[in-house]
């Protein structure tokens, strides 16, 4: 799909990280950014009227964590094809493998480099 006019859903409990990720996403022309504070909030946004082209989610969040969210999105017939990027402080190889095995398309460890994030998003959107 085209990189312009993409709709992103940023799922992060930290307002600082939400703002930082959203800031990076503004590199995409006409990007629309929706924000959710946890997995439950994200599912609400996903079932709303807005088309979501890509989800960026943290793992450690209250109420519902990012791994559960990835798993539920992949089980949902309407949502299962949305690319998901996990952005987390958990940098161990087994965490990465677990995230990818649940269906995430990419796994980025914090602290994030904006250029790396942009490159990963561009590749995922181009492949859709």
């Amino acid at each position: 799909m085209a990189l312009d006019n993409a709709n992103f859903l940023v799922v992060e409990d930290s307002p600082t990280m939400r703002q930082l990720i959203s800031f990076s996403l503004k590199r995409f022309r006409n990007a629309r950014i929706l924000e959710a504070v946890d997995g439950v909030d994200a599912l609400k946004k996903l079932s709303g009227p807005d088309r979501i082209d890509l989800i960026l989610t943290d793992i450690n969040m209250p109420v519902m964590d990012g791994l559960k969210l990835v798993s539920l999105v992949r089980q949902n017939a309407q949502l299962k094809n949305i690319p998901i990027i996990i952005i987390t402080t958990e940098g161990a190889e087994e965490d990465r493998e677990r995230g990818l095995a649940l269906g995430a398309n990419a796994y980025i460890s914090k602290p994030i480099q904006s250029s790396h994030l942009i490159k990963t998003i561009s590749e995922l959107l181009a492949a859709v």
Partner: protein
């Protein structure tokens, strides 16, 4: 009859002689022409060779110049690529700094400011275990008011040290950041009083506390060059945010006390 034949023979002989002489002259002329042509040909050939040699020399020189320019352009390209990466990094750092300062100054609630400082230290600096210490100016004591990663560094939540004592105390006293890389003794072993990094929370030259880091996230091996700069800038923003929120909460408390006192006075009178 014999004389007639002799005359005819003589005439024939003379004609043959003339013809032979003419042939010899022609031969001589042609040989001369051949010799002159040969001389002319060699000179032309030499001239052509000379011209081609000079052309080859010019082309070789041009080729060398182009190769040199190509090398220069390639170097310039490398420089531009490196510069692009640097600019990208700077952009990233500026974005981090912008977001961090925006968040830090978005509230006057002391606990919220401390929570934001913690988020910044985890997400932007990449620390797993750290403490935020504030200086009590009455007792000259530094005390931990927030911490993260107690499992990695037990006792981190109750750090307390006097101004000037040990590494933490001297960072607070001098206002100079400390990084364990600067310390060549003891192989860089981290302990409660010898952290990985200690950065003063300063408002101009006035130190109000410290951010002390004991362990970085697993995926972050060490501080990068820009981290030091970013860390100091963030600490300055954090310091003003903490100081203002602390003053604000103190003034709120005082205001409430005065208000209650006034209420009491008005109801009793």
């Amino acid at each position: 009859m014999t004389e007639e034949r002799a005359e005819k023979f003589l005439e024939l002989f003379n004609k043959g002689k003339e013809f032979t002489e003419e042939l010899l002259r022609e031969n001589q002329r042609l040989r001369y022409r051949l010799a002159s042509l040969e001389t002319e040909g060699t000179a032309g050939f030499n001239e052509e060779v000379q011209r081609l040699r000079s052309e080859v020399q010019q082309l070789t020189e041009e080729n060398r110049r182009i190769a040199q320019r190509f090398k220069e352009v390639e170097e310039e390209n490398k420089d531009f690529a490196n510069r692009y990466i640097e600019v990208e990094e700077q952009n990233n750092n500026l974005a981090n700094l912008y977001v961090a300062s925006y968040q830090l100054h978005s509230t006057l609630d002391f606990r919220e400011v401390i929570q934001i400082v913690q988020e910044i230290v985890i997400n932007l600096i990449g620390a797993e275990s750290f403490a935020i210490l504030l200086l009590d100016e009455k007792t000259n004591e530094l005390k931990a008011i927030a911490s993260e990663g107690e499992d990695v560094m037990p006792g981190i939540e109750s750090i307390s040290t006097r101004l000037g004592d040990g590494i933490l105390g001297s960072v607070a006293k001098t206002g100079e950041s400390y990084y364990i890389n600067q310390d060549l003794e003891d192989g860089g072993k981290v302990s409660l009083d010898k952290p990985l990094a200690a950065v003063p929370l300063k408002i101009k030259e006035h130190v109000i506390g410290l951010v002390v880091i004991y362990k970085l996230l697993q995926q972050k091996d060490s501080f990068s060059a820009v981290d030091y700069e970013l860390f100091s800038l963030l600490a300055a923003h954090a310091a003003t945010a903490i100081f203002s929120s602390k003053l604000y909460s103190q003034s709120e408390r005082k205001l409430n006390t005065i208000q209650s006192f006034l209420d009491l006075l008005t109801t009793t009178s």
